[in-house]
């Protein structure tokens, strides 16, 4: 640094500086980053569709079909590929080339014999123990567990972020209104929060899943989000209640600031740090809830692969230990990572634990 004065450090800059000093928390963040990378690159890590291929003079990326079926180029359906690329590509266009995923395994179906030149079919039943071709083994139908789990990462992460994003919006809005305006608005919000708190999430979700006609992963996320905002609302309310009496809020009012400006610009940024903690813990619990649902068989139906669904398969095939170990470890590590991040956030943003900045 050549500047005569150090650059001003804001609250979050300072929190990040102290966060960095915790190797475990940094490792947890790195792990979540790794999961995000796996989720985004899933079709390139495990799949049976080329990442990129040249076919009849044009370039295609059939792997995008794993994100959305409609993204699969029509030409392959017209040429009757039937989802099997390696042999068809070579047979129908000798000039063609393709870049394949790292692991040639499909998350939704068993790979057949000689689908990949010289490789046998996926073993099924209890023969599918982990091997060179099936890193994490196969399930009772011969579907590769590694591919299932790589593609299930998306679900695990999305469930956490989408459901807690929804929960944060509901919780922060309600908590802010109750805490800032007080009086009957506060009573209304508090009583409503208490009522929602009394409902056991899992039971409610099971009931709703029974009613909802087509359960999808998005509906599950919406339900988890709509029932898990209570702790966020209560913390936000407390922070708003405390901060609305503070002198800097009074100073803003003296300057002529309206309620919206005071809430968004003055109170919210100051109340966000403690609220972030239940959000991270909530992400962990949302992942657990989704896994439990899938384990119980109420999870999103295929084609959404999920870690909990693999665990569910293990229920009827207890001798297949690999169906328990790998998804179980994945869920455990992810939930642990979020909890570590939450705990670290709690400590680095706690004003009582802040040291001098010198």
């Amino acid at each position: 640094m050549t500047a005569s004065l150090p650059r001003p450090i804001g609250f979050w800059g300072d929190a990040w500086r102290r966060f960095r000093r915790r190797p475990l928390a940094v490792a947890a963040v790195a792990f979540i980053g790794f999961l995000a990378a796996v989720a985004i690159l899933a079709p390139a890590i495990a799949g049976t569709k080329p990442v990129l291929c040249r076919y009849k003079g044009r370039l295609y990326a059939p792997c995008l079909a794993y994100f959305d079926r409609r993204l699969e180029p029509v030409v392959f359906a017209q040429d009757r590929f039937r989802g099997s690329y390696p042999a068809n590509l070579a047979a129908k266009d000798p000039e063609s080339w393709a870049i394949w995923p790292l692991v040639f395994q499909d998350p939704f179906r068993a790979v057949r014999a000689d689908e990949w030149p010289g490789r046998p079919a996926n073993p099924s039943r209890d023969q599918g123990r982990p091997s060179r071709t099936n890193l994490f083994g196969t399930d009772q139908y011969g579907v590769d567990v590694f591919a299932k789990m790589v593609h299930g990462t998306t679900v695990a992460l999305l469930v956490g972020f989408v459901s807690m994003g929804l929960a944060s919006v509901i919780g922060i809005t309600l908590g802010a209104l109750g805490g800032y305006f007080g009086g009957w608005a506060d009573s209304l919000v508090s009583r409503f929060t208490e009522v929602v708190m009394c409902i056991p999430t899992l039971i409610l979700i099971l009931a709703l899943v029974a009613i909802v006609e087509k359960p999808t992963i998005w509906k599950t996320m919406a339900i988890i989000g709509a029932t898990n905002w209570t702790s966020i609302a209560r913390l936000t309310r407390g922070e708003f209640l405390r901060l609305r009496q503070s002198e800097f809020v009074m100073a803003a009012r003296a300057a002529g600031a309206g309620p919206l400006r005071i809430m968004l610009r003055h109170i919210l940024p100051n109340s966000l740090a403690p609220v972030l903690v239940p959000i991270t813990f909530g992400i962990a619990s949302a992942i657990l809830i989704e896994s439990s649902l899938s384990f119980l068989g109420f999870g999103p139906p295929p084609p959404s692969a999920s870690w909990g669904a693999v665990l569910n398969d293990a229920r009827s095939n207890l001798s297949m230990w690999w169906l328990v170990l790998f998804p179980g470890m994945a869920i455990f590590l992810t939930v642990l990572a979020y909890n570590l991040v939450g705990e670290a956030l709690q400590e680095v943003t706690d004003p009582r634990l802040r040291e001098s900045r010198k």
């Binding site: 004065l5 001003p8 450090i9 804001g10 800097f248 100073a251 003296a254 300057a255 002529g256 600031a257």
Partner: protein
């Protein structure tokens, strides 16, 4: 001449709620019928011990706390009748500086955002004009323009208070409530800030309501002083009058507590018995009577009316009588009041006297 700020019978009662149904069972009478007037360019000091309602009075004048009764006029405008947009536009003309510069500056905003907020709200100029106003306000308070891009926590207490003053000044107000602006500062910094406030008043023609518990500071900065006790003003006078000829026994006791370096001026310390009563249950009659060394039967029943003499106003039965007896001679009346109060201290209370 009409006063610039006219406060009449201002009351702020906070309801006390109890039980599940949150029924109102009483009220804390934080401010209970306060009246005073400040003319343009004048500074009124408001003194009293902590909990007497002086801070609440200052805040309720600016409607940062809603008054429950009385009237407040600033430049002829009834502040209590304003709402919404009209109140907001009025806020530009009246600002406040708080006691604690650590609590009054939002820690998440840079000094630029803090200063600019009011300018944006009141649509005072474009970006360039706002920057110029902010630079000028910082300059006036002795802060460098480089402070704009820093956060409050990077400054010392005195510097923060200068920033808080700059925030008030940037809106070019005419009336500023100074709510104990130096009490939270180091003694070495206090004088600087006091001088800064005096300079600003001279240069900008500001009108101050200066709230403090420090009598010596109030004497330095104020033209007139009002003494508050338990939600009421007990005595109002010019600074000179009040310090030379205090009439109310509470004022006399208050002054006896001010340390002095001049041995010749050293007076006997008057110790008031008991504590300040709860403002939720103020005593009947004169509010000061349970602690007053010279309280009489009438004091316990009748609220003393205001007695005024050359702008020296006092609420006290005994003082009123003494003034009468002395034929309106303030100096003699004050001396007699002082000796009356002091006499009670000498009788059997030898231990409380200062050497």
């Amino acid at each position: 001449m009409k006063p610039f700020l006219d406060v009449r019978d201002l009351t702020v009662h906070f309801p006390i709620r109890k039980g599940v149904l949150r029924r109102v069972v009483g009220a804390v009478r934080a401010v209970d019928g306060v009246s005073f007037a400040i003319s343009k360019g004048e500074t009124l000091g408001l003194v009293g011990e902590s909990g007497c309602g002086k801070t609440t009075a200052g805040r309720s004048i600016l409607r940062l706390v809603e008054p429950t009764g009385g009237s407040v006029h600033l430049d002829g405008i009834d502040l209590r009748s304003l709402s919404g947009r009209s109140l907001r536009s009025m806020r530009r003309r009246m600002q406040i500086v708080f006691q604690d510069p650590y609590g009054s500056l939002n820690p998440r905003l840079t000094v630029r955002s803090l200063l600019e907020e009011g300018l944006v709200i009141h649509r005072m100029g474009d970006a360039a004009a706002r920057a110029e106003r902010m630079r000028r306000a910082l300059d006036r308070t002795g802060m460098p323009a480089a402070a704009l891009d820093r956060y409050p926590h990077e400054f010392s207490g005195g510097q923060r208070q200068r920033i808080a003053i700059a925030r008030a000044l940037v809106l070019e107000p005419e009336f500023v409530v100074l709510d104990e602006p130096i009490s939270a500062l180091d003694v070495s910094i206090q004088a600087q800030v006091i001088n800064l406030l005096a300079d600003l008043r001279r240069d900008l023609g500001l009108t101050y309501l200066f709230i403090s518990h420090d009598l010596s500071v109030v004497e330095y900065l104020s033209d007139r002083v009002a003494v508050m006790y338990l939600g009421r003003i007990v005595e109002t006078a010019t600074a000179g009058q009040l310090y030379a000829t205090p009439l109310h026994p509470y004022t006399i006791a208050l002054f006896s507590a001010v340390p002095t370096v001049d041995p010749a001026k050293r007076r006997s310390r008057i110790v008031l018995p008991g504590d300040v009563p709860s403002p939720a249950r103020p005593p009947a009659g004169c509010r000061f009577h349970p602690r007053c060394p010279i309280a009489e039967a009438a004091c316990r029943e009748v609220d003393p009316p205001e007695v005024s003499l050359d702008g020296h106003r006092v609420h006290c039965h005994v003082a009123a009588r003494e003034l009468d007896a002395c034929g309106g001679d303030e100096r003699r009346a004050s001396a007699r009041m002082t000796s009356l109060v002091a006499a009670t201290q000498n009788a059997g209370r030898e231990g409380h006297r200062q050497p």
